[in-house]
Symmetry: C2
Subunit: 325 residues, 2 copies
Amino acid sequence: MSMTRRTLMAGGVLAGPVLASAPGLAGGGAALAAPAAGLPGVYRYAVGEASVTALHEGGVMRPLDASFVRNAPLPEVQAALEQAFLPTKTFPTTFTPLLLTLGGKRVLVDAGFADQGPPGTGGALRGLALAGIDPGAVDAVVISHFHPDHILGLKRKDGTPTFPNAQVLVPEAEWRFWMDDGRMANPPDALKTNLGIVQKTFGGGLKVERYPWDKEVLPGLTALGTPGHTPGHTSFRLESGGRRLLIASDITNHPALFVRHPDWSAIFDMDADQARATRHRMLALMADGRAPVAFYHAPFPAAGHIARAGAGYEFVPLQWGVELA
Amino acid sequence: MSMTRRTLMAGGVLAGPVLASAPGLAGGGAALAAPAAGLPGVYRYAVGEASVTALHEGGVMRPLDASFVRNAPLPEVQAALEQAFLPTKTFPTTFTPLLLTLGGKRVLVDAGFADQGPPGTGGALRGLALAGIDPGAVDAVVISHFHPDHILGLKRKDGTPTFPNAQVLVPEAEWRFWMDDGRMANPPDALKTNLGIVQKTFGGGLKVERYPWDKEVLPGLTALGTPGHTPGHTSFRLESGGRRLLIASDITNHPALFVRHPDWSAIFDMDADQARATRHRMLALMADGRAPVAFYHAPFPAAGHIARAGAGYEFVPLQWGVELA
């Protein structure tokens, strides 16, 4: 599913005005279009007795300007992209929900967009189909935080639940922030779009349960408070058969920028200082523990390891077909 | 298609004794098995008006001993693997044939194993099927060199051509070496198995044509002499619409070892000194030209870029869904 040059040139258009100002999707972008329409991105790896199926939801290319990294000069950001052999005028954001099989349950971590996303997204449902999993067979959807690219896929455009039999498990702290009556009634401009999406998503029709931090959300899956990106932003420790995987959600956006330069802040971090402290703490843990990690916005299949590199870190992607160390 | 732990522990068994001593497969190995049986690895990217579909043929894990890298101490090799977060007691070798669409033709570059390989291989044909391409629709198969993992897939176990309508284009220099009557009649022990496979493959039933170096094999695909790995080992420059891709075949085995340490020699290089000179020359070209590159034994999808790193180089994999720079 390469982005064609034509699509790149077209630039600047997003699916709908609703998404254009939503955190997680701020700014216009072109789709990662598919000359290989129909070729899904789906990859499965083992974590002990559990399995993780990474689902390439797709992505968007956003025109890169000085607003994206709030505290670094644009030429430095472009130099980091060039070093990673990535485009320097547009910036790729991809989305990778994970389908876990865990203790006999099918558990989706974050929901993607279903049919509510910009062009070039929606691949996760195609990937599920290829993996032979019906949306009705998903037992639970665990949500890391309430940005649109993580929750919109809980429902389809027509308002029906995408995973009709699933419990939807959400962070208590995130629910408290976004579902606050006062905030809903008088939304600050910067949150208006996102609050609308939260209300539309969680206003009814889903079997929602809230979970606290530092406890198991489900047997083998522990919620870790990693706030800053949003007030209730959550990561997860998956443990099975003596193996583990740290599912680190959005503690960094693209690794080529924010793992290499953990002090840099993406526009999407709601509390930049807190997010930076969380990112430093978690990256140090990952590097020192040599723990396998997954990030929602890392290049598909969005899992690998973190190594120290100079003043920052680097993300070392897993090798396709080889068990995670 | 992760390798399961059970498979790793099983170790030491290859498909058949024939393969156990063949270059490209020397030594026993366990399969990269598939807990995700049926999930194929297939990825398509554009090069100008041409497209490249990378097909994950699968791979084998071989027990790692001092014989694999001929001129480096085993602990140094293991340190390099550990740095790449790869297993240190077994070594993954994967195979990625490429299906090009080029000037209206479907051109396969290297053939994998079809049904003649060790357990854990054969994925390329499943990938082709997922991409909607019938083997009968392949117009040409271009072979880089005559090691078994590149040519066995030209035929099925029953001797019939896997791609019944394809011209099979082979390097003139490679043909001259392996099809030499004297060598066939009195094969040196080290080449016996490989020579047998060459004879079985090219002894009849295929539409073979030989191509010279430094000329187009097909419009847009130029053969580049890169000898050493084998006497006639060939790389290719794919050019279309002002873009290019260097298809570098086996000038390196796994990048974590031989791109990081280009002086190291894998057991498979028939003329280690010539292969080393070729590797240095090509890696310098790739790094200085920032050219997109593909390698048969790089981690799937087996394409990316080469950057200088200390005394060696590093392989930077492409990002899934993002056009090659």
